[in-house]
């Protein structure tokens, strides 16, 4: 059998496969951003964290030969970036958005600087799960070749959701994110909790970067990120700060991104670049459709500088 025999079924199949492949970094970065924003801060620097995570993950995997060591290194580097953001934002009269933008530029710049020697060498890939073993069709097998980090991401989304609902830490993050006054009255230190949440959020974004360089596309170069780190911030708003909704939103974005290549694979080359813009067009559409001039965003943490 070949692609023509599969007919138009190839399109949804390719979109599904693409959605899973493309959505993983979106998922990780948006989970990190959910954690940060639920604590009352916005970290726009996650794009830089993502790129730096991609570089450091690739570099460590190259040097050690262990892809998982790369993932750990990326998480560590990411949490370091988050920590810097959190600490700087804990100073009085510092704006989290401005700090985020400068960290975004710093992160990408540092990644290019340290990453130069790793553009040529080849690092070992992260293992993938062959979920398409039951089928003879190569397209099905290719589409269902799922990286281990994807189920890890799903698990992380469920864990975060549970954490916000039924753990002391989760509730404390929500308290400081929703009302600084209430947190102070409770004897909490909001800046401390926010800094930790931002650091943990950075680790998520770092892992998202490691996925980019160690699986898909699977190499390190300067154009590795196409703005996933920034799109994830929009995605969090779209998902209304709910980790499980983040999973759905990431899949939707990934699917939209896979639309162009999928159509091309069945021989519809028209508007290829237009379809490439789909995720961005969709972001704009979603944000416009869900906005309202007269009412505050539902679910937005009360202490967020954009919703105050």
């Amino acid at each position: 059998m070949n692609g023509t025999e599969l007919g138009l079924w190839a399109i949804p199949l390719a979109i599904l496969g693409g959605a899973i492949r493309v959505s993983t970094p979106f998922l990780f970065v948006s989970l990190g951003e959910v954690l940060t924003e639920r604590s009352g801060r916005i970290n726009l620097g996650l794009e830089g964290t993502l790129v730096f995570g991609a570089m450091s993950g690739y570099a460590i995997a190259c040097v050690t030969g262990l892809p998982w060591a790369g993932v750990l290194a990326a998480a560590g580097a990411g949490s370091l970036f988050g920590l810097v953001h959190g600490l700087v934002c804990s100073l009085p009269r510092v704006n989290d958005i401005a700090v985020g933008i400068s960290l975004m530029l710093l992160g990408t710049g540092l990644a290019y600087f340290f990453g130069k020697p790793f553009i040529q060498p080849v690092a070992p890939d992260l293992p993938a799960l062959e979920l398409g073993w039951w089928s003879d069709l190569p397209q099905v097998q290719a589409a269902l070749r799922v990286n281990v980090l994807f189920p890890v991401g799903i698990l992380a989304a469920l864990l975060l959701w549970w954490m916000f609902r039924a753990t002391r830490i989760g509730l404390l993050v929500r308290v400081v994110g929703d009302s600084t006054d209430a947190a102070r009255a409770m004897g909490l230190r909001p800046a401390f909790i926010r800094t930790l949440a931002t650091a943990a959020g950075g680790a998520f974004a770092g892992v998202g970067g490691a996925y980019l360089s160690l699986f898909y596309p699977g190499s390190w170069n300067e154009g590795i990120s196409s703005g996933q780190g920034l799109m994830a911030v929009a995605l969090v708003i779209f998902a209304r700060w709910n980790p499980i909704a983040c999973l759905g939103a990431a899949l939707l974005f990934g699917g939209a991104g896979a639309l162009g290549p999928a159509l091309q694979s069945v021989g519809i080359p028209d508007g290829y670049y237009l379809f490439y813009a789909m995720p961005y067009v969709m972001t704009l559409g979603v944000l416009i459709a869900t906005s309202s001039p007269g009412r505050a965003m539902a679910g937005a943490p009360g202490e967020l500088s954009i919703s105050k």
């Binding site: 609902r165 039924a166 753990t167 002391r168 830490i169 509730l171 404390l172 929500r174 308290v175 929703d178 009302s179 006054d181 209430a182 947190a183 009255a185 409770m186 004897g187 309202s292 001039p293 007269g294 009412r295 505050a296 679910g299 943490p301 009360g302």
Partner: protein
């Protein structure tokens, strides 16, 4: 369970002995000795700045008193920080809610506990909360987000939280300022019953004499940091209390009502608008305010008064309906406001009617800075602005360190006076006011009410929205009640009945 164990120990008495607090050269609290007997409701009265909050902050460990002792349950104790006050069973309910809006009531309660478990077993916690609630005289929906609560429910939850945490001496800081009369009576009634049952001692900070009379056993009055009077409530009259609070200062008397209402100035017909959440809306079918009358809109906060105010000031767009001023359509543009002489005193004037960081001179000049006589001007005249501001400051007794200081450096009463000065200068056809006396002391309140009455007598149509029913009863000619975004009731002030209005505010027909 520890919570139960501590509760059963019952109410505790608190006593301050010669409590003195100095900030630099300023004596905020001067040798205050006060005894609050266990199981009583003790009212603490005083003007703004009389030292009430300094006193309770010393008790709760936010401040360390310069001199004096604190006795809890008959023993002298040290309270270096709020945590040790909590450990002694002392708690405080603040004027501004300290609940987390997006958390449910149950989440709020559990997370406020010092010993909240790392992983919360919600089934077990809920069962324990239900048994706790069953013993309480009042309850709230545990599984709903606090955001959806009415002010009364929030206040109840605040008090429940303190009991849940095992506090046996409670300071309530103006607990009824955001409640309807019915809700206030209900909450205070519950508080009183808890005290009589010997579970709780309460220090009630308030400025409402009605509450002192109805709910408290004893009362203490502070003025300029000193205890100027105390006694059993039964032995004192309202006049006694007012004299103690204000001292020899004369309160401005409201001018007597003169004149009869004239032609309609404001008419609102069929107006529809969404509220802040976008989920509910307001619907005003017909509202008319005539020249020379004050129409009051009573209601619990959050029933659409704020939205109506925003529609009239142009801060909120309408989806349907007509607003007319002096017979012509009114869209709340600056030009229309000038032509029809419409003026506003919104609530929280520092945020809704001022630019906080601009100077007082600039802020009071907003209505006229670009006018030269009746025409527009391009170049501003700083001299004119300053002289006009100085006139207003003198006429309205605005106290500011300098008129060039930013508006945000003024006290609440002075911001209110400054905005009122700006809005009441010149001829005014329509004045729309919302909660003009919120958080002000007696002297400022009396003065502002006198100004509103004077404007009415000179032929201004006044629309007054207020959550303070006493204020509505004192000032208005006609009373409307707003409930669930609609005007639910209307009567003339002469025939207004407090109980009936209270019922309508609560949404009962």
């Amino acid at each position: 369970m520890t919570v139960d164990g501590r509760l059963q120990a019952g109410a505790i008495g608190v006593e301050t002995v010669g409590m003195t607090m100095r900030f630099g050269g300023l004596t905020a609290l001067d040798a205050v000795s006060m005894r609050i007997a266990p199981g009583t409701v003790h009212a603490l009265l005083g003007e703004n700045g009389a030292g009430k909050s300094t006193l309770v902050k010393c008790v709760m460990g936010f401040y360390r008193a310069t001199r004096g002792q604190l006795m809890v349950g008959g023993r002298e104790v040290e309270v270096p920080d709020p945590k040790s006050a909590h450990a002694l069973g002392l708690g405080m309910v603040y004027q501004h809610f300290t609940l987390v809006p997006s958390l449910t009531a149950a989440e709020n309660l559990v997370i406020s506990r010092e010993d909240a478990p790392p992983v919360i077993d919600w089934r077990a916690e809920m069962a324990r909360l239900e048994t706790f609630m069953a013993r309480m005289p009042f309850t709230v929906p545990l599984d709903q987000a606090v955001r959806t609560f009415s002010a009364g429910e929030k206040q109840k939850l605040e008090i429940l939280k303190q009991l849940y945490l095992g506090r046996r001496f409670l300071i309530l800081d103006e607990p009824t300022s955001v409640l309807t009369p019915d809700e206030a009576d209900e909450v205070l009634g519950h508080v009183r019953r808890l005290c009589q049952a010997g579970e709780l001692t309460v220090l009630l900070i308030t400025h409402k004499f009605r509450e002192v009379m109805a709910c408290a056993d004893e009362v203490s009055v502070l003025r300029r940091g000193a205890l100027v009077g105390c006694g059993r409530v039964g032995d004192l009259t309202r006049a006694d209390l007012a004299r103690m609070m204000v001292g020899d200062d004369e309160l401005a008397e409201p001018a007597p009502r003169t004149g009869v209402p004239g032609a309609p100035v404001l008419s609102v017909a069929g107006v529809r608008a969404r509220d802040r959440s976008g989920l509910k809306g307001i619907a005003i079918d017909a509202l008319e305010v005539r020249a020379g009358e004050i129409v009051g809109i009573a209601g619990i906060s959050g029933n659409g008064q704020m939205e109506l105010m925003e529609v009239l000031t142009g801060q909120r767009s309408v989806s349907a309906g007509r607003i007319r001023v002096n017979g012509s359509p009114y869209g709340a543009t600056r030009r229309e406001a000038r032509v029809h002489r419409v003026r506003f005193l919104p609530e929280e004037p520092l945020h809704n009617a001022c630019v906080p960081r601009m100077s007082v001179v600039e802020n009071v000049g907003f209505r006229s800075f670009d006018l030269n006589g009746s025409g527009a001007r391009f170049w501003l005249s700083t001299r004119e602005l300053k002289s006009r501001a100085a006139d207003m400051a003198a006429a309205f007794r605005i106290r500011a360190a300098s008129l060039d200081a930013p508006m945000s450096s003024l006290s609440g009463g002075n911001v209110q006076r400054a905005v009122l000065a700006r809005e009441l200068t010149g001829t005014v056809d329509l004045l729309v006011i919302s909660n003009p006396c919120f958080g002000l002391d007696l002297t400022a309140v009396a003065e502002i009410r006198a100004r509103i009455m004077a404007a009415r007598n000179s032929g201004t149509a006044v629309l007054l929205m207020s959550e303070d029913l006493d204020e509505i009863m004192e000032l208005t000619d006609r009373v409307l009640v707003m409930s669930e975004g609609r005007i639910a009731y209307e009567c003339t002030a002469a025939r207004a009945d407090r109980a009936e209005i209270g019922r309508r505010m609560g949404g009962h027909a």
